[in-house]
Every structure is written in structure tokens, then in C-alpha cells.
Amino acid sequence: MSDKETYIRSLLKDGEELLLLTDTDLDRAGMFGLRWLAVTSERVMTFSDGPGTSTTDGEPEVEVALADVKGASVAHMVGHLALEAEIAGRRIELLRGSNSHAEKLARIASSLTVACKDSKQPEFDLTEEESLHCSECGRLLPERGSFCPACLKKRRLLARIWHYMKPYWGRAALMSLCAITTTVLALTSPYLLKILIDDVLLGDGGERLLLILVMVLVGTRFAGLMIRILGGRLLAWFNAGIIHDVRFDFYQAVQGLNLRRYDKTQTGALLSRLTHDTSMLSFLFRIVGNGVIPSLLQLAGICVVLFVINWQLALIVLIPAPAVVVLTRKFYRIVRRYYSRVGQRQARMTARANDSISGIRVVKAFTQEPSEILQFESQSEELRQASGLAGSMDATYFPIIEFVIALGSFLVWYFGGLRVIRDPDKMSYGDLMAYLSYLAMFFGPLRMFTRFGGFINRALAAAQRLFEITDADQEVYDAPDAKALKSVEGAILLDDVHFGYVKDKPVLKGVNADIRPGEMIGLVGKSGVGKTTITNLICRFYDVDEGKIALDGVDVRKIKLRDLRRHVGIVPQESFLFNATIADNIAYGKARATREEVISAAAAANAHEFIMRLPDGYDTRAGERGARLSGGERQRISIARAILRDPKILILDEATSSVDTETEEMIQCALANLVKNRTTFAIAHRLSTLKRADRLLVLEDGQVAEFGTHEELMKKKGTFYTLVQLQSRLSAIKVVDG
């Protein structure tokens, strides 16, 4: 029990129970520091830590009776937030915290509000859904619920990578054999050089031995070449195969990812994992296969040979090795920082230039060329300085390392030379030359290790990021007791639906509605009130937090997800077309649709005519690199897609918001064809477009404010009536403005 808890417990009266004791990171003066919130069965209190408010004598700063609290909420300010209690119609601030405490404070507010409403004792569950701290070392994580780079289980990760390597073990074994042979052949050359010097040039081997030795040298080099080519080719296919497997698993996981994960992760970040992280992993295999393993073998081989030939000289050779490792590491870090700055400044300059050139019409129209040039010049100058400095560092540090390496060879020349002069029987001139060759071969791999150590760690982190997605929460397609749904009537029940994309910001707060099969429901309300959210919940892109949504009396969570979505069609606000033909886009939801069916759907969506006018007709490529279709045309293709799928439940999300009046009419006609005999949810900004709706569901503050026919709601003169009046006035102003 902490000092604070002991102290707070000492303040409790007989029978008073401590229900919650938690802290935030902002003190009363708005400085970083601990502040405590204690909720007991009778009171709500806050305390501070710090000078004058020690844990043993601090009196509560705020103290209110729990019975007086009618609710609690979180006030979001800029950079921080406050937990407030509602007491006698007033909101009293209890304490503040930085954004790091947003989720916790929201949970406390929610628990307090629920308890006050039900006149119960509050129950708090502050278990974080996704921790911000590493459970092992306690350090902050780079991403909530993500892995801790410091505690990255390299062994487990390597085991995971090994799992991907398994199917290619035969190739891997052959590659290892190639690497060993290459090393042996590489180590042979200096030894042959020694024989050449001692026995041919300085000895009496003669021309014949010379020819044999040169032939052997050529042979070993040629064999090395062949084996390297073979190893390289094997590695290329080995690498491509593994990366394909990883990429495939990753993409499969991405397609099945829960949408909540998409809310938290930017699509760009996911794509970066698919491209950048797989490239990193691929590069890892390449440098391990091509560089690390052969270099390791080479280093080990050289050490053995050097010690076998002359152990004393071998020790001398190794003298500069630690210095080379330390210096390379240190210099590399320094130089990398300088180059990183170059990269940053270059990126900023490029972004600015890109902005300016892309917006050249605006620049010229506002005659801002001189100011743009001036800004560019200043950024280019910054880059000049950074590049010059980085280049200077590079030019200074790495020759120093070369010099240290050269010192090693000077030592060999001196001590080796002494031995050759004083004791030629124990060390010949050829031995010395072979030593110098081995020395040259020794420091290359050593430097490479020091440089690639950091890279290998980054590549392993990239692998971890990939596996993180592969292991992430997938959409639950089938709950264990999920039912198949062959045919659907289309009755939908919203029963006390509560939902928020983020826990501390509820969007829907108890929505109730009973919708009959085939009814068209207009969803009305200000933006952000939860109209699209309701449709998202019907599609089960998300699950409700409380309450339920039922289709034909069955909770949607108990219906097989594929079956549910098969019966739902969406015409979204932003119609998305894939980079494929118009026909493919229309048939996206029904792959086996005949061309006749595609044409019929397009005709019903009022799209047939404009498609036929295109030079390539239905074979016109749409999407990013396709024909430039107008917003209305894209929207009608999107409607045709929904018509072809023939869903029983239809969602029209602001389907006519981004088009002109004439196009809107055409789309309305298309929609009239589409909504027949389908339960339809229509969201429209222009309320006049909802006249055809059977009933209107008006949302306000996350709840149903009104639900009835257009006529009923107009008669009622409530929220809907006010909204209609407001829009009519706005339209009138627009007409007057022309």
C-alpha cells in the first residue's frame, strides 16, 4: 500500500469505503506533478503531492459529498483536460490531467455518471485496453498497445523469421555450403601467394611451378566466382520467396483488420509497413546472406590461419581491432546525425519547392514569386551549410579510421619484418606477404559489422511491426453461435444503442428505433451527431458498446458477418472507384455478373448514357489513373454497383451532396429505382431530398430527438421543423445572392 493510500485511508470515517484512488500528471497550479483523486462510498476528494502538500499531512483540496454529485464529465481543453462533477446544476472542476490521462478520466466520468443515474455505488474499472507502458521494463511505448523496442524478444522474433525460412531449408543449406566454400577459397589465395614468393620467386621452384601456381590461383578465383554466382542466385530466390510469404500473410491480415485498428493507424502507415518494412526485411536477408554470414566465416577462418602461421604476429594484428570497432561505431553515429540533418533540411526544402511549383498559378496570380524565391534561397542556404558540414565530418573521420587500420599493417611490417630478417627459418618473406593480405581481408568485415549492427536492429524492428499486424485483432467473422442468413426481410431494431469511436467521446447515447421491412428512413441531424455511425453499426464495421442492433429479430453480432454484409449495400458520400474498368467497378460486388446485368444496373442508375458516350464505353478505366469522371458520374457508377448487388438493406450516405442540382435530379431518379422494396437509410444534408422517406429519425446529442413522418414532424414544430426553416432561409439567401 502506498503512503498516499495509507494516508487517505486514515482519513476515512467508520464504514466509509475507498472505491478509487488514482493519480493524474498535472498539479493544481497547472504544473507537471502528481495529483490524486479519491472516491469513497461517501466523498470525492482530490489531493496534491509536492511542497507543502506532503503525502502525510495534505488536506483534500476539493471535497464533495458523493450524494451531491449528479453526474461527471470530461472537459476537453487545448493540451489538457479536466474532470468535472455536476453538483446542484453547476460543474465543479475536480482535477486536470494531460492528454495521457484522457482515457482514464473518461472512464471515471462515465462510471460516476452511471452510478449517479442509477443511485448506486460507483464501480471503477481502469484497466487500460491498451497499455502505454511496457509491462516488463515500464518504459513508455512508441505506440499505445505496441511492442517495446527495448524488450523486443529477439530470440522469439528470430524464431518467427525461422518459421518463414523453413519451407526453403534445402536452399538455405545449399547457400551455407556455398558460403563455406567461398570462404575456404578466399583464404587459399594468400597462402598460394606465400608459396609463390617463397618457393618460386625467392626459391628454386622454377617456371613450371610458377605456371601451376598461377593456374591454381585462376582456378580458385574462377571456382569462387561460380560459387558466388550460385549462392547469390539461391539467395535471390530464397529472399523473394520468404518476402512473398510474409507480404501475403500481412496483406491477408490487413484485409481482415478490425476497423478500429484502421481508425488508430493511418492507411499510409499500413502501406509503409507493406512496402518499407518488407523492403527492410528483404534487405536484412540480403545482407545476412551476402555479407554477415560470409564475413563471419571469413573472420573466423582468418583468425585460425593467422594463429596457425604465427601466433605472436597474430596477436599484433589484433591490436588495432578494438580501436577500429570503437572508432567506427562512434564516428558512424556522429556522421549519421549530421547526415540526418541534411536529410531533414533537404526534405523541408523539397516540400516547400513542391508546394510552390504545384501552386504556381496562385503564386503568379498573387505576384509572390520574389517571396517564394527568397524563402527557397534561405532554405537552400540552410541545406548548403548542413551538407558542407556533414561532408567535412565524413571527410575527416573515415580517413582517421583508415589510418588506424594502416597502423596495424605498419606493425606487421615492422615486427614481421624483424622476424624475417632475424629468423628467416621461422618466418619467411612469403609468410609476411600472406599476413599482410590476410590483414587487408580482416578489417573489411570488421568495419561492416560495426556499421550494420544498428541496421540489423532496425530491420528486426521492421519485422516486428509486420508481425504486429499479422497478429492484430481480426474482424470476428463468425461468433461461435453465429447464424447463417440466407434471406432477409429487412426489419431493423435499434435497442438502446450506445457507441463511441473513442472511449472518452460517446457518439450515440441510447438510440432506440424500430424499422419495418422496406421502409425508407431519413437520418437527420447536425454533422457529427452520429448519422453515419448508425449506418456503420448496422454494417457491423464496429460493434455497439451497449444495447443491440437486430436484423429480423436477430442480434447482428449473432449473424455470420459475411451473410450480414451480403444483404447490405452502401452508396457512400465519396464514391470510390478502383483503378479498373467501369464494368469491373459496377460488378465489384458481384464478380460473376454478366455484361447484360452490368448494363441493366447502369441503366437503372442513369449511368448508361454517359458511359456509352465514352470512347471506350464500359471498358473505360476509372479510378486514379482512369478517365476523368465528374462527381455525379462517379456517384452513379457507385449506385449501379449497389443496384447490381441487389441488397435488402440500403445505405445512402449523402449520396447527392457533392453534385449540382441537375445531376442531383438524375441521381434522385436513379435512387428511386434503387430503394424500391428495400429497407433504406438515407443521410442527406439537404432536407428537401428526404421528402420521399417514410419516416425521419432526428438525432440530437447522440439520442433520438424525433421519429416520425415528414408531415408529423413538421406539425410538431420541433427540432426537424427548426432545421427545415433554417435551411429554407439559407436557400432564400442563396437565391437572393444569385
Binding site: 493540451g79 513508455l140 540526418s340 531533414q344
Partner: protein
């Protein structure tokens, strides 16, 4: 043009009277016009001009803007005190005065800093991509929770702090 006329975005300081029962909720009286019972004060330029151009929002009318006070120094002392207390309480943007350590691991940057609001440890994701350059050496560093930390001019920090920031500036 009268910048503080009846239809202007700007409120004439002489007409403005502010009082507060709690700092976060001001009461505004516009002389010879009307009173607003719950008013929130926000900065129009929170980063570049935090002490000037302060907007008043009508909380009971969906945060509708009432007007802007161009220079709070022109208000009477009591109103100015209420306004500044309220607006200061609405914003929390610690200014980094010293970077004690900055460790980068796998793309995450672990900061240990001193700020005008006390010491703080935080972690920023993607230091190079995340740091915003606001011009004239001013930096804004967001952490993983969406908190932000400001450096008014990195060139004025001590040598060690500058060294830590070198890869991004």
C-alpha cells in the same frame, strides 16, 4: 472603417466587462447591449500571438463567436485579470527549456526534458516526421498521447540540447 463598430468581429474594449465565478466560465457584459452568462475565451493565434486577439465564445449558444478582443491590455484591470486567467487555463502547451537526454531507438524518441511546467519524460513517435517547424527556429514536438511541447527557438537552447536536436533541425 471602424474596426470596433457594432457589426465588427472586434469588441471595443470600453464596452467589455468580464467577471468570473470560475476561471473557465466567464460572464460577459457588453455595455448598452447584452450579457452572456457563460463565455469561453480562446486564442485566435495560440502559437504566434498568444497574448493578443482573444476570442469570446457563447457556450450556451453552441460556442458561437461573440467577438474578438484585439488587445486585452486595453480592458479594465479586473476584466483583463479574469480574461487572462481563463484563457491561460484553457491552454496547456509546455515550453521546453532544456533537453536533459534524448535517446532514439527504432524510430521512437525518448525525451527527458525540463519545461516551464516542470520536468517531464515523454516519447515521440517518428521524431523526424513528427516535429513541426513553425519558422524562426520554433519547433513543436508531439508525443504519442497527443500532448505537444514547444521550443520557441532551438538556437537559443544550451549546447547539449542543441546537440540532441541536431538530426531534426
Amino acid at each position: 472603417m471602424d474596426a470596433t463598430g457594432p457589426d465588427s468581429e472586434f469588441l471595443a474594449p470600453a464596452r467589455v466587462s468580464l467577471s468570473a465565478r470560475e476561471p473557465a466560465r466567464l460572464r460577459l457584459t457588453l455595455q448598452q447591449d447584452r450579457s452572456y452568462l457563460e463565455v469561453k475565451a480562446v486564442r485566435a493565434f495560440p502559437l504566434s500571438k498568444p497574448d493578443r486577439l482573444i476570442g469570446l465564445l457563447d457556450v450556451r449558444n453552441g460556442d458561437r463567436i461573440i467577438g474578438i478582443i484585439a488587445d486585452p491590455r486595453e480592458l479594465d484591470a479586473s476584466s483583463r485579470k479574469c480574461l487572462m486567467k481563463s484563457v491561460d487555463g484553457h491552454y496547456f502547451l509546455p515550453t521546453i527549456t532544456r533537453i536533459c537526454s534524448l535517446r532514439e531507438e527504432f524510430g521512437a524518441a525518448y525525451f527527458d526534458v525540463e519545461t516551464d511546467c516542470g520536468k517531464r519524460h515523454f516519447v515521440a513517435k517518428g521524431l523526424r516526421d513528427g516535429t513541426q517547424h513553425l519558422g524562426d527556429g520554433e519547433l513543436l514536438i508531439p508525443d504519442v498521447d497527443g500532448n505537444r511541447y514547444r521550443i520557441p527557438d532551438w538556437r537559443r537552447l544550451d549546447a547539449l540540447s542543441r546537440k540532441f536536436l541536431m538530426p531534426v533541425v
